[in-house]
């Protein structure tokens, strides 16, 4: 400590205002990023049809049982998409996202007619693991723009995977 003859509080105040300006720039960049991926005016009104989510047999690569929204973690499951419900000129894909937002299975991208042979979209078990991760899964059918960025969700389905 040593004696002071002038008030340094305003230096602290101005420094904080400079930091806040940097903060405002960071948040603005974030806002631009959000608008880039969530573009306004991209609604086409098209709705894709998800037939259902079923238990999936990895050996036969076929779905079994009834349409369900909840699975034990020992089960592998798959969504079935009716690609004929999507206009053929649109570039689309279908994806599974796990509870952490990581992609766990994908079909496409391509025109709906090209994907007609891939109506079953199974969820993937993460590498090095034996079971799918528990939590809330999101399945989406998305429309992509010319640059390959998903811009609209045409159909969405949530599935809960139990912990046990």
């Amino acid at each position: 400590m040593s004696a002071t003859t002038y008030d340094q509080l305003h230096t602290l105040y101005r420094t904080l205002l400079v930091f806040a300006t940097v903060g405002a720039i960071i948040l603005s960049v974030g806002l631009v990023q959000f608008v880039y991926f969530e573009r306004p005016g991209e609604e086409t009104g098209v709705k894709a049809r998800i037939v259902g989510v079923y238990e999936y047999n990895l050996a036969t690569m076929k779905t079994t049982g009834p349409d369900r929204s909840e699975f034990p973690r020992s089960d592998v499951f798959a969504a079935v998409v009716d690609w004929s419900s999507v206009p053929s000129q649109l570039v689309v894909d279908a994806r599974w996202y796990d509870t952490f937002g990581s992609m766990r299975g994908e079909v496409g991208p391509g025109h709906a007619t090209d994907l007609s042979g891939q109506s079953v979209v199974p969820v993937e078990v993460p590498p090095d693991l034996h079971f799918v991760l528990p939590g809330r899964y999101t399945f989406v059918v998305e429309r992509l723009d010319a640059t390959g960025v998903p811009v609209e969700v045409l159909a969405r389905r949530f599935v809960l995977v139990d912990r046990s």
Binding site: M1, S2, A3, T4, Q8, L9, T11, L12, Y13, T15, L16, L17, F19, A20, V22, G23, A24, I26, L27, G30, Q33, F34, Y36, F37, E38, R73, R95, Y97, G101, L129, H130, F131, L133, P134, G135, R136, T138, V140, E142, P150, V151, E152, V153, R156, F158, R163
Partner: protein
């Protein structure tokens, strides 16, 4: 004839004191309303176990909120009635903690890894958080904050702030997942959610401390200490929650312990000072600077600026952390540390700059006031004591010498004397700047206390 006079205040025209209690009451009422609204929304729309837990947990949160308020106010009361207020506060906080533990237990038992794992995770986080709080409190080299307020700040961060955000974030997250395209857009939205809601919830605790305990909230350094304490409390609860959650997810793969351990290292070692503590300390810095600014416009601007930096720092981590992928090789260990250093390091460095500058500013002004007090000849601070009081190391040496002479009692007597002398210098500083509304008699009482303590030190 008996005449009564109102003791002169430092700033006689100040009407801030009753107004700020009104603001504190309004903020507290808003917090409670927000808790009620979001928990009912959760219960009605989600109908999940966390939704029910949040509703049942309301009583616990309300008890802790009211209890901590009574606790901090108790020390402003007359010593004769203080005991009753402390008992009331203790009962309410105890009840709240028990209820909360019950809710958490039920929640963890049904949703996550179970109470045993939760207890181990909490025990693992306790020493690191305690170390963090110790370091943060010691940062205030000239005038340390009372432990009770530092712990209250941490408890608010751990219990009240986390409760507020759990409900608000659930509503935001579910709404965003139903409306947005999964991927970077959704991730950015969730980063805005975490940055805004979590910093607002944590910042409320700092603002309430500022409004209710002005006498213990002196300047930017105090603000940084309280803000960091709130952040560490929040980080503690979040660490326990993430560790138990990941344990339960990876336990069937026999990787539960590793997942929880990695999470502990990330949050309790790497992120102990870099994460929540840094962000919320900025809010504290803003409030602390506002404490000493002369005009209402500048005060508001400083507080908003603190929130802005905190939200931006938190947002940048959540939104852009995936830009630094961690390779699945040995270099991954280095990459984890580099990522924290690159992304949060600049914010922490800025905060350290504010802290160092604040300590220097506070120290210079305290020396100035100590010299002025010594010059009055009142005997509370002697001219030869000023250089000792000005240096933390020389203060420590003086206490150690007392310990060698008289033992532990001597050490604590000298410590109390030094604290009282620094309190007096701080009071004088605020009075000179017209920043306090306590009467001049309060300063005289401090002076008398110093003289009384000096007698005790001499006697021992």
């Amino acid at each position: 004839m008996i005449t009564s006079t109102t003791p002169p205040a430092a700033d006689p025209e100040s009407a801030l004191r009753p107004r700020r209690y009104g603001i504190a009451f309004a903020v507290a009422a808003l917090v409670v309303l927000a808790l009620i609204a979001s928990s009912i929304l959760n219960y009605v729309y989600l109908d999940t176990i966390p939704g029910r837990a949040s509703l049942y947990g309301l009583l616990a949160v309300a008890s802790i909120t009211l209890g901590t308020y009574i606790l901090v106010r108790a020390f402003d009361r007359d010593p004769a009635t203080r005991r009753n207020h402390l008992i009331r506060a203790g009962v309410l906080i105890g009840l709240g903690v028990l209820l909360w533990l019950l809710v958490i237990d039920v929640f963890l038992y049904t949703q996550s890894a179970g109470p045993g794992v939760a207890a181990v995770c909490a025990l693992a986080c306790l020493p690191t958080t305690a170390f963090g709080l110790l370091v943060v409190r010691r940062m205030d080299r000239n005038h340390k904050e009372p432990w009770r307020l530092v712990l209250v700040a941490a408890a608010w961060g751990a219990i009240v702030a986390t409760s507020l955000v759990v409900w608000a974030e659930t509503v935001w997250e579910v709404s965003a997942q139903r409306a947005l395209v999964p991927g970077p857009g959704l991730d950015t939205s969730l980063a805005f959610m975490a940055g805004t809601l979590e910093e607002l919830a944590k910042g409320l605790a700092v603002v309430l401390l500022f409004l209710v305990m002005r006498s213990e909230f002196d300047d930017v350094v105090d603000g940084i200490v309280y803000g960091a304490a709130v952040g560490m409390g929040f980080n503690f609860m979040e660490s326990v929650s993430y560790m138990t959650n990941l344990y339960s997810i990876f336990a069937p793969e026999h990787q539960g312990g590793i997942a929880a351990g990695v999470q502990w290292y990330n949050r309790q070692v790497l992120g102990l000072f870099f994460g929540h503590a840094t962000y919320t300390a900025y809010i504290g810095a803003g409030v602390g600077i506002a404490r000493q600014l002369p005009t209402l416009r500048q005060k508001i601007l400083a507080i908003v600026a603190g929130f802005m930096v905190a939200i931006a720092g938190h947002f940048s981590w959540d939104a852009w952390v995936n830009l630094f992928p961690i390779p699945n090789t040995l270099f991954g260990i280095v990459a984890i540390h580099l990522r924290t250093l690159v992304m949060t390091g600049p914010f922490t460095a800025g905060l350290i700059a504010l802290l160092i500058f604040g300590i220097r500013y506070e120290g210079q002004n305290l020396v100035d006031q100590m010299r002025k007090e010594a010059a009055t000849g009142a005997g509370a601070i002697l001219p030869q004591e000023v250089p000792v009081l000005a240096s933390p190391w020389r203060r420590l040496r003086q206490r150690t010498q007392a310990f060698q002479r008289v033992g532990l009692r001597g050490y604590f007597d000298v410590s109390r004397l030094q604290t009282a002398q620094l309190d007096l210098a701080m009071e004088r500083w605020h009075r000179e700047r017209k920043e306090i509304d306590t009467p001049l008699e309060a300063e005289q009482r401090l002076r008398e206390r110093v003289i009384q303590l000096r007698h005790w030190v001499r006697a021992s």
